[in-house]
Every structure is written in C-alpha cells, then in structure tokens.
C-alpha cells in the first residue's frame, strides 16, 4: 500500500496556524492568571485556622484533581445550560480551564508558602524590618524562587492541555487542525503538523522560562 505524503498543500494554511498559535497562547495566559488568582484564594483557605475553610479548600482541590478536564468542560458547556447558564464555547472553555488550574495553582502556592522557614521571618523581624518589609524582601523572593520551576512547567502543561477545549468548538490551535483537515482531507499531515507546532511552542517556552530563571535568580540580583 502506498500513500503520498503531501505536506506542501498545508503551506497555504500557515496564517491559520499562526492565528491558532496566538489564540492558544491567549487561552494559556488567561488560564494561568485566573487559575493563580483562584489558587491563591484556595491556598489561603487551605492554611487558614478555620476548619470549614480548610475543608472547602480540600474538597475543591480533590474534586478537581481527580476528575478529567474533558468531563469538567462538558459539565460547564453542556450541563450548565440546563440550569439556565448559557455560555459561549470560548467562555465555557476559559471557565473550565481556570477552575481546573485553580486546583493545581493552589497546591503550588501552598507549597511555596510552606517552603519559607519560620526562622527566616524571625530573622527579618529581628533585623528591625516591619512585617510588610519582611514579606517583600525575605519571604516573597524565596517563595517565588521555590515555586518558579513548578509554575513554568505548569504553564507549558496548560498550553498542551488547552488542545482539549477544541472538542466543544473553542477556537485555538487544535481547532485550526479540524478546519484545515476539513479543507484539505489531509488528516495525517494536518494533525502531525499541528502536533509538531505544539512541540515548537513547548521547547521555545521552556528555553524562555529557563532564561528568565537565570536572569532573575541565578545572576546575583542587585540590591
């Protein structure tokens, strides 16, 4: 059996692919920011002295981390309209992604808070720094340095995960694959090309984050 691979017919669709890349990055950045905002609230609840708050945070994290994103997406997009909440595909996708990311973000941030030792805070205070100064100059830098690698790899993970939202018709890079496929009937070539595009994005962002880490944390930060 012989099959002629034709990647050249896809060249015409480079603008569509680039547009898809842009949309995927847009989804990833918004998801990351909203997810971290939710995660911060949940992380603070999870270390609060109030038992009910801690319990809620734990239920949130466990429920979201132990069910597939695809099912969460279907609940938001197909399920919520039956109780009167109608969302567009892109909005539903962003909500599901952010809620999902919130659970992972909460765990990363909590680990960050807990990583800074109490003695560091005491040292800052005994040098005469105020609580605010101690937080800014002592705690924050160390905490961010600790969680930075986790956040960087989480961003790449989100970028790859956003491909799932194409299943409800949200417009991003993987959605473009379905579009190009429907125009060219070159399914294998199309999906290979799109998959490789993600690889390029992943490698580029890993290099970028490693560079930022080096500049900010490895090279001596100026006082």
């Amino acid at each position: 059996m012989s099959y002629n691979f034709k990647f050249d017919v896809l060249l015409r669709y480079v603008p569509e692919i680039l547009q898809g890349v842009f949309l995927t990055l847009q989804f990833s950045v918004i998801t990351m920011l909203c997810g971290l905002a939710i995660g911060l609230i949940v992380a603070m609840a999870s270390i609060s002295p109030l038992m009910p708050l801690r319990a809620c945070a734990r239920i949130y994290v466990e429920a979201l981390r132990n069910t597939p994103l695809l099912v969460q997406l279907f609940i938001v997009f197909f399920g919520l309209p039956s109780i009167g909440i109608r969302l567009g595909a892109n909005t539903a996708a962003l909500i599901a992604l952010s809620i999902n990311m919130g659970a992972y973000g909460a765990e990363i941030l909590r680990a960050g808070f807990e990583s800074v030792r109490q003695s560091q805070i005491e040292a800052g205070r005994s040098l005469g720094l105020t609580a605010g100064q101690t937080f800014r100059h002592v705690v924050l830098f160390q905490a961010v340095k600790t969680i930075y690698p986790a956040l960087a790899s989480q961003f790449v993970l989100i970028m790859l995960t956003t491909s799932v939202v194409s299943s409800i018709g949200a417009t991003e890079l993987f959605h473009q694959a379905a579009f190009i496929d429907s125009r060219t009937y070159r399914s294998f070539e199309t999906y290979t090309l799109i998959t490789i595009s993600y690889l390029v994005l992943t490698l580029a962002f890993r290099a970028f984050f490693a560079g930022v880490y080096w500049v900010v944390f490895v090279r001596r930060p100026r006082r």
Binding site: M1, Y3, E62, A63, R65, N66, T67, P68, L69, L70, V71, Q72, F74, I75, F78, G79, L80, P81, S82, I83, V156, L160, T161, S163, V164, S166, S167, F174, A177, S187, F188, Y191, T192, I194, T195, I196, Y198, L199, T202, L203
Partner: protein, 216 residues
C-alpha cells in the same frame, strides 16, 4: 426517542467505566514495558542512546496527548495497519505512558546513592549482583508512590480517547446525554465514577509514600 435518565443508564455508565479501566491497565502494561526501555536507555553510559531517550521523552511530553491520538488514529492506516479506535487509543496511551514511566524510574534509579554501588563493589559483588540485590530493591521502593500517582493522570487521560470515538466512560456519557437530553446529571455521574477511581488511586499513592518513607 427522548427518555428519562434512569438507573439503567447509571449501570451502563459503570459498565463503560470498565473500558476506561481496561484501557488504563493496557497502557500501564504497554507503557511500563516501554518505559523500562526508556529508563535503561536514559541511564546506560552511552551518549547517543541517552540522547535518543531524551528526544523521545521531550517529543511525548512536549506535545498534547490529543495530538498524539489523532496522529496515530489517522497515521496507522497509512502504514497498512487496520486501525480501530481501541488500537489507536491503546497504542498512543502506552507510548504516552512510556515517557512518564521512563522519567519516574530513571529518577528513582538515580536517587539511589552512588555509595550504594561502591559499597556493593567493595563487598566484591558483580555489576549484576549490585544492581539486582542492592540498587533495584531500593529504587523500586522509591518509585512505587510516584508510579501510582501517575496512574491517576493516566485514568483521567483515557477520557480523551472519547474524541476519536472509543466508547469508554466519557464517550458513553456523551451517548446517554444525547439520548436523554439530561447532560448535567449524566456528566456529573461520570465525574463521580472518575472521582471514585482516581481518588482511591491518589489515596493509595499517599499511603504508599508515607509507609515506604517511614520504613527506610
């Protein structure tokens, strides 16, 4: 025909969950065998093979699983393999799992201190004896908790095979949802079934982690 979401549908979903478990189990076995190869290629003292393993891991971990599924689903027929959704799903999930298992097991192997190797050599053990009696037992103990932890990811990721038409729990929910027009209860039921499977696995991973750490 539109009908109510009934008890029989819940039974249908639970039965579909067996396919989710079977797929995860297949990927665990297939990915496990391939993962051993990846881990070995990653640690043997021969650079080109190390690079090959690193390239493999980066290729799999740097692309979306959904993309891998579609490439296999459309690609395998081109090389003359008859392909149904099950084959494509089992194959791509095994390959996906191999990259993660390979990395987990490489980490476990390398976390066994170099001194353990030296101690074995000082006792006059051969390389195979050192590996089999000294290093592997410790590495396996370290690797069990993260391996079970990854199984949670694997079970959740089987849901993506619904998108190439393999009927497991998520695809079954889509079908029931289409027949009953009751998406909310259907997908919530599916979520509960996934939760029961995944939560048990993650609790098991936590338990193993605690137990194996204390014993060390």
């Amino acid at each position: 025909m539109i009908r109510e979401f009934a008890d029989a549908d819940i039974v249908y979903l639970i039965e579909a969950a067996r396919w989710t478990l079977l797929l995860a189990l297949t990927a665990t076995v297939g990915g496990g065998l391939l993962g051993i190869v990846v881990a070995v290629l990653r640690v043997i003292p021969f650079r080109p093979l190390n690079w090959l393993a690193i390239a493999w891991i980066n290729l799999i971990q740097g692309t979306p699983l959904l993309g891998q599924l579609f490439v296999f689903f459309f690609g395998l027929p081109l090389v003359g393999l008859s392909v149904d959704a099950w084959t494509a799903a089992a194959l791509s999930l095994s390959i996906y799992a191999s990259a993660f298992f390979g990395e987990i097991w490489r980490g476990s192997l390398q976390s066994v201190s170099q001194r353990q190797w030296e101690a074995g050599a000082a006792l006059g053990l051969t390389y195979a004896q050192r590996l089999g009696h000294v290093v592997l037992p410790q590495a396996i103990r370290i690797s069990i908790a993260p391996t079970v932890g990854f199984l949670v990811q694997l079970v959740k990721n089987t849901s993506l095979t619904a998108l190439i038409g393999f009927v497991e729990l998520t695809r079954a929910s889509q079908i029931i949802s289409g027949a009953t027009f009751a998406p909310l209860p259907v997908y919530l039921t599916a979520a509960v079934i996934y939760f029961i499977i995944c939560f048990s696995l993650s609790q098991l991973a936590h338990m193993l982690e605690r137990r194996l750490h204390v014993a060390r």
